[in-house]
């Protein structure tokens, strides 16, 4: 007890423990870097203007992936059209209006629940409600609606956090100057929370852009060598296309597969990085 030995042991334990934790963190992070770097390395050669702007041919073994890129772009926009207004409004409700009662708790449980539902179950729901019951067919509209309900929880929770971080004193001052609640929200709270809201919206849409399961039976086309004509048309999409060419087509050239994966992660991670930049710039500029 009085010797120095236990002390030595304690330090040794700590050293071993810290090394183990460092190793674990490295095991988490290094594969991510390897994956991204490898896809850039293996797919970089395939990505050129023709690949980005051309139509697929020869059973997708040749040509470009333009319809899939444009399709994912349309789906992301369509998702935004529904989920952004509803999501921000719901966040405003929770942050600015909702009383602390049983109904509000129910709304919160509903949001938590929406965030946990498996993506393929969203696909089933979209098939049941939008494709069949409302007769929108397998279309951009059905797929966008399905994706937008799936992205709602992300948009709502990040936007609510951004709204709540606006100091309460701004609201009190605005009210004391004779502004109504909505005037206060529109002129003070929303503008101040905007960078945080944009970050949340992009993170939500990023998830929608990368998802496959919800659009499998609601709007994704296996092969459609043209652009969709309307929102009632099915469309190709990058994630689904990657799934198809890596599992359904025999003797698919690796380069096209890696090229498609690269374009998809550029699309998705580009949004992620953009959101991160907006967030950190807004934090640096914030004055309160």
């Amino acid at each position: 007890m009085m010797t120095k030995k236990p002390l030595f042991n304690r330090n040794l334990t700590q050293k071993l423990g810290f090394s183990l934790l460092t190793l674990m963190a490295a095991m988490t992070v290094i594969p991510i870097i390897v994956v991204v770097v490898y896809i850039i390395y293996a797919g970089g050669g395939a990505v050129n203007w023709e690949f980005l702007s051309g139509l697929p041919h020869d059973g997708m073994r040749q040509g470009g992936i333009m319809p899939a890129i444009v399709g994912t772009f349309y789906l992301t926009l369509g998702t935004a059209a529904f989920s952004v207004p509803i999501g921000i409004a719901a966040a405003v409700y929770l942050s600015e209006y909702a009383p602390d009662n049983w109904w509000t708790r129910l709304i919160r449980i509903a949001i938590i629940n929406l965030s946990g539902i498996p993506s393929v179950v969203y696909g089933l729901f979209g098939l049941g409600l939008f494709v069949l019951f409302l007769k929108f067919g397998t279309s951009i509209l059905s797929a966008s609606l399905t994706l937008s309900i799936m992205t709602l929880p992300v948009i709502i929770s990040t936007s609510e956090e951004a709204l709540r971080s606006v100091p309460q004193s701004f609201r009190t001052v605005s009210i004391s100057l004779g502004a109504t609640r909505w005037q206060t929200i529109r002129r003070i709270v929303l503008p101040e929370a905007l960078p945080g809201i944009i970050t949340g919206v992009i993170l939500g849409l990023e998830r929608a852009a990368g998802e496959t399961a919800p659009i499998l039976f609601t709007g994704a086309a296996f092969f459609l060598p043209r652009l969709p004509h309307s929102i009632f048309d099915a469309t190709m999409a990058l994630p689904y296309h990657l799934f198809v060419i890596s599992t359904q087509i025999p003797e698919m050239p690796f380069q096209i597969q890696y090229g498609t994966a690269l374009v998809l992660i550029i699309f998705v991670l580009g949004m992620n990085i953009f959101a991160t930049i907006i967030r950190s710039r807004a934090r640096a500029r914030r004055q309160w």
Binding site: T172, S174, I175, L177, G178, T180
Partner: protein
């Protein structure tokens, strides 16, 4: 002396049981500075927040009594609170400038009211900044963000912001608590200037400030109004023992 506001048997209790008011009756004169003072938690701020119904935002458990402003009971549920708040301006303890330019801080209240005429807005900016003794310091940089002003300037901007709405009553809740002595005296001087046209109700941040500024003064202790008299009387010859103990610094 004309009474601008008459408070009748006002009682108030918050949900969480904090600071409350018990049966307050008080008449507040026009064109004078009325000071509400006393130890913290005595109900001064709560009373202030009743006068422009800002308490609507808090969790109030019970409230009874009447507050007459120009013969109208403002606690009546049918009162147009937006109009009331334009008539009763407020300045808070910590200067809270809105996250916009100096000019927009002043025009904000008018704009939410629906005023769009530029000439009226410009006129209000100059007039209220002059009244708040800030015009000379900021007239060349009205488009700068208000947050760039010093603490004292920010607080005078807050005063100007309430004045822009041409209210009839101005409530000030410890407006100089965060300011240095020089800024404090500037704010106090501008109060003496504007009281000619307004009824001012001030919660001071010290007994000294109360004594310096008060035309009339009311001493609050634990939610009760202990004594109410002219400023020169209450600080020199208080009638109640508790008031005397407080103003002579025996507690608080």
């Amino acid at each position: 002396m004309n009474e601008k506001i008459v408070i009748e048997n006002l009682s108030l209790q918050y949900d969480d049981g904090t600071e409350s008011l018990r049966n307050i009756s008080l008449g507040i004169p026009e064109n004078a500075i009325t000071v509400l003072f006393g130890p913290a938690g005595g109900g001064k701020s709560s009373l202030l927040r009743c006068l422009n119904r800002l308490n609507d935002l808090s969790e109030v458990k019970t409230m009874s009594g009447r507050i007459w402003l120009d013969g109208e009971n403002i606690l009546d549920p049918k009162t147009d609170v937006i109009r009331l708040r334009r008539k009763v301006g407020m300045v808070f303890a910590r200067p809270v400038v809105l996250p916009m330019s100096i000019r927009s801080n002043i025009t904000y209240g008018l704009e939410v009211m629906g005023e769009k005429r530029r000439s009226r807005l410009e006129e209000a900016v100059e007039r209220s900044l002059i009244q708040a003794a800030l015009w000379e310091e900021v007239k060349d940089r009205l488009n700068d963000p208000a947050i760039a002003l010093s603490g004292g300037q920010q607080q005078r901007l807050c005063v100007a912001r309430s004045l822009a709405l041409e209210p009839e009553v101005i409530l000030l809740d410890e407006p100089t608590s965060g300011l240095d002595p020089i800024s404090t005296s500037k704010v106090e001087a501008s109060l003496q200037e504007i009281k000619k046209n307004y009824s001012i109700i001030l919660v001071p941040h010290s007994v000294q400030q109360a004594a310096r500024t008060a035309d009339f003064a009311a001493f609050f202790l634990q939610g009760e109004l202990v004594e109410y008299a002219q400023g020169k009387t209450i600080f020199t010859a208080p009638t109640d023992k508790r008031t005397e103990d407080y103003v002579t610094g025996r507690f608080g």
